[in-house]
Subunit: 593 residues, 2 copies
């Protein structure tokens, strides 16, 4: 396997050249205090060293050995403890944390790129700090001051980690059906009882304590999702002086054996009258979760980017080294027994698909993260718009980046031929590890429904109109005549997306099934269109900056052209299948399947 | 995991209602003697029992335990020996074999459907008899009478198995570079020396002897693929009286650790002056291999169908049982806590994609097998045409059925949500097992080049014209007005494929890279078009036969409509990317990747 190298240059290009995030930072008091361009670059460089040198090298062995379970104790893979210690010593557990409790207060655009590095290095590893950051975010947003003071500093220090306990065996996508109970006690705490499954980092040996956020129902709670509350349940009780007390009634009953992310502890967690503390309001637990979910879901989308970037780097190195066959247009390396497989159109196709998807996803994911930053750090109309675009585009980030990321890891495996199927080369691990990102944190089908039914139809099209207006305004602003080819295609794509949306909403007014039937294709249509939008931005920036670094910017321009000619046309198929409607999906009875 | 049930009804429908293979059998002396409808149905039923009851149930454990290696000895997974014994006792190793040496002489349409069953039951298991049948076929076609007499009866009896030793570490897709040497001996035999990798069933404990077919070069052979010869190298020498003698100089140096097909022994094979016998002519080894390859490659395509069918059956059962969420168009099961996930449009989309692909692939693969049968058993113009269509469509079968099969296993895993990622449910194994079928026996990229460069461009478009003419004639013959919707779409698809082909060949005349750049998309365009052709055939047959079995034939008709409306439109994207040409693939320098 090639050594993983963080694409720092590309990250800086996206942040500062394409999106100009530093000017946004200067407009926010909190951000201006926390970060500037130099600080951000220094942070990314330090994180990159850690990801490259400490985490990436242990990924293969961690996959082979995985997590082990023995009578409630979970042991992480070799090297994980040490790597996590290095991570916390670097201060990275605090990266996005609330400065009032010891966090570094970095914007999502920075934490997201830091996430990409660790996902590329090893998705399993990235989940331990990732879940901790997510749990801490929920506590910071919805917890009482007392809870925040008691728990956040240690979570930011990384001495304690976090978990999110949502799913139960019978309740996954449909959390309204959960059965875990929380019974109020006289001291204001609750006793939580129930069984949770698929709990990432629910139990392990890398931290002194684990802070579980648990969805449960009060005895008198309304049925369904309106009766769900959120509780903080520590693995080990924390005394008032902050020291650790006795063990709580929480145990890990088993770990799952999975297709991939073998080094991630996926736990069955049993709460047997465990003491917990309400986070946020009673019966508003799902809303509290959703605050955090926008951040988490982008993070899962980024797992797709990380795995695909790693796979691309490996595939590119292999393709350059491997000699096999001759170029169709004449021998390229007459002195060698064969040409490098880089000469073959189909190998270039696979590599360029990966390159165009990876760089497009990185830029688009940073653009979406930027909307979250506006929603968090800006004010007034800017904040509202950021909030709206983040709501619209978060399901896109989660599902689209993992779908094209998975496609890319499969392509990166294919470049290796038979060697791609053999474990020692690492390419097959990336396929297996990436696959889960399409499933957890709300399956990609759920994301598609979130996008189309909740966000687009739920706003009567207003959210999509908002994005389309922005995108059209941008297209209209591009005046460089050398970019005409892109401008015309993107303008058409935006018009088509608008038309498809309006027609779909009209049909859905008569038949709600139109939404569920079209959701997946609609999400992809939006994905290709939004990625074309960000590729045009990159093409424009690189055209402007060409002379500064011709090889880099030519590569961007050529990859943009590849995207427009070879990947954006997939939208034609999607439009046709969306327009075909729901009838063929529902006109067949269940027993005819 | 659901119990696997062989879709016998669908197989019979394809064979006799859709393709009317029995009338073809009656026109061939050899086939009329070997098989009729009743015999064929009895064979498929018996094979089905074995696949369902003996092989499918051991697949999960075989994946967990896999093949083990100890100092040259390879031990197969628990139950494999017994299942293989039951298989050989059923006589199935002889199914497609030459009757002169104890084979049953069945046509490919029957052996192919038998292959699907065992692939669905367990791809790893299917490889042991599959490789044996392939090796026996090569010997039967190209071996001397002496070799045939000595080796075929035991291979047909299943007491000996076979392997194909092609790949070397530095020579996979490019076999011209192999280094294995064969030195002629005075007695007419050869001493074979070299190392082969990725040798399926190269060593194991299920048979008394293993007959390796080995590609090697004579000391004075021309360079490249014109200097390759084929040798039969037994693991254990066979005495003139047919008894086993001493061990040959063949050893297994290691087995590979892989993403999937854990129960298939993928061996490093070392030949250290092993005694071998020439098969066919000197320096014509690759041609000998290619005879067999059409049969083998369809077989690998069928692995995709088998895995996808198994995944579909599991996913369908799960979707019917799993309750989660409510229907968009109103509660469907008011007495249950939630509706079955069959109510969700996106779940139906995934299941219908699988159903349309599986049934379409089964029918199309049987149609292609029928062309092979014409090439083998017919004479004159019929034979020539069968030969031409088989040559054209074999790479399609291998690559298209494994590509859509892989997509289907991924969809079948997605239907399970988080449970799809957990090993115990079996869905993730099908993804891992199916994945190899896109890689081995010539990667799907190689298949695409075989189709476009060798077959289509190599015949100056004549082979594609032949198929298009046939398909257009069929479309013109469909007169039922209720089928107009399909007829119009397919006619357009055929016209577009013709136009795309002609334009592509014109461009390729100026720039050969056009072929490699378009090959993958072209193969898929042909695949969707050919599958539409076979779905129209099924729609027509089912419309005619509707009253005999309304539920079955309605299901076919509705699935045909689903295919035309929801899957065939993918061709629009493919046409656009093919028409975009090779420029964006080659206009970027290697160091800009």
């Amino acid at each position: 396997m090639a050594e993983y190298r963080v694409p720092l240059k590309d990250m800086n290009y996206v942040l500062f050249d394409v999106l100009g995030v530093d000017s946004m930072w200067q407009g926010s008091e909190a951000l201006a205090e926390a970060v500037d361009k130099d600080t951000a670059q220094a942070i990314l460089e330090e994180c990159a060293k850690l990801a490259e040198n400490e985490v990436a090298p242990i990924s293969r062995e961690a996959d082979e050995i995985g997590v082990t379970y023995d009578q409630g104790k979970v042991t992480t893979a070799p090297g994980f403890k040490e790597a996590f210690q290095a991570y916390t010593e670097g201060g990275w557990s605090a990266l996005g944390g609330d400065p009032e409790y010891g966090g570094m207060g970095m914007p999502k655009v920075i934490t997201a790129l830091h996430e990409e590095m660790f996902c590329a290095a090893d998705i399993s590893f990235s989940l331990y700090p990732g879940l901790t950051a997510g749990a801490a975010l929920s506590i910071a947003k919805h917890g009482s001051d007392a809870l925040k003071e008691k728990y956040l500093p240690n979570m930011y220090a990384g001495t304690w980690t976090g978990s999110m306990c949502l799913t139960e065996a019978h309740a996954g996508s449909d959390l309204g059906m959960i059965r875990t109970k929380a019974v109020p006690q006289e001291d204001g705490s609750y006793l939580v009882t129930g069984n949770k499954i698929f709990i990432t980092a629910g139990e392990h040996d890398m931290s002194e304590n684990i802070i579980h956020l648990v969805l449960a129902k009060l005895p008198d709670a309304p049925a369904g999702s309106r009766g769900i509350s959120l509780f903080l349940v520590p693995k080990i009780h924390v005394n008032d002086d902050g020291s650790l007390g006795e063990a709580n009634q929480v145990s890990c009953g088993a770990i799952e054996h999975k297709m991939g992310i073998h080094a991630s502890a996926t736990c069955v967690m049993n709460f047997d009258g465990a003491k917990g503390y309400l986070v946020g309001e009673i019966n508003k637990g799902l809303a509290c979760m959703f605050t955090m979910m926008n951040f988490e879901r982008i993070g899962v989308g980024i797992q797709g980017i990380g795995a695909a970037e790693r796979s691309y780097q490996n595939a590119l190195e292999y393709a350059k080294d491997r000699i096999q066959g001759r170029s169709l247009s004449g021998v390229k390396s007459p002195d060698a027994a064969a040409d490098s497989i880089m000469v073959h159109g189909d190998v270039r196709r696979m590599l360029l698909n990966m390159k165009a998807f990876n760089e497009g996803s990185r830029a688009l994911s940073t653009y979406i993260s930027l909307q979250l930053d506006y929603a968090t750090f800006a004010s007034g109309a800017e904040r509202e718009k950021g909030d709206a675009l983040a709501a619209l585009m978060t399901p896109l980030a989660k599902a689209f980046f993992t779908d094209v990321g998975f496609e890319s890891t499969v392509a990166g495996q294919q470049v290796f031929g038979g060697h791609g199927f053999i474990r020692e080369w690492g390419q097959e691990q990336l396929v297996r590890d990436c696959r889960i990102a399409q499933i957890y944190e709300g399956t990609n089908g759920i994301q598609a429904m979130d996008l189309l039914a909740r966000k687009v139809a739920g706003s009567k099209g207003a959210l999509m109109d908002l994005w389309l207006k922005d995108a059209n305004a941008y297209v209209d602003s591009v005046s460089d005549p050398s970019l005409t080819e892109f401008v015309a295609d993107l303008r058409q794509a935006l018009t088509d997306l608008d038309t498809v949306t309006k027609n779909l909403l009209l049909r859905a007014a008569d038949n709600a099934e139109e939404l569920g039937s079209a959701a997946n294709d609609y999400l992809h249509l939006f994905g290709y269109t939004a990625m074309a939008f960000i590729w045009l931005k990159m093409a424009e920036v690189s055209t402007t900056n060409m002379e500064q670094d011709p090889a880099f910017h030519q590569s961007k321009l050529k990859t943009a052209r590849y995207f427009f000619q070879k990947l954006l046309p997939r939208r034609h198929a999607l439009i046709a299948t969306i327009d075909a409607g729901a009838e063929t999906l529902f006109d067949i009875e269940d027993d005819m399947f």
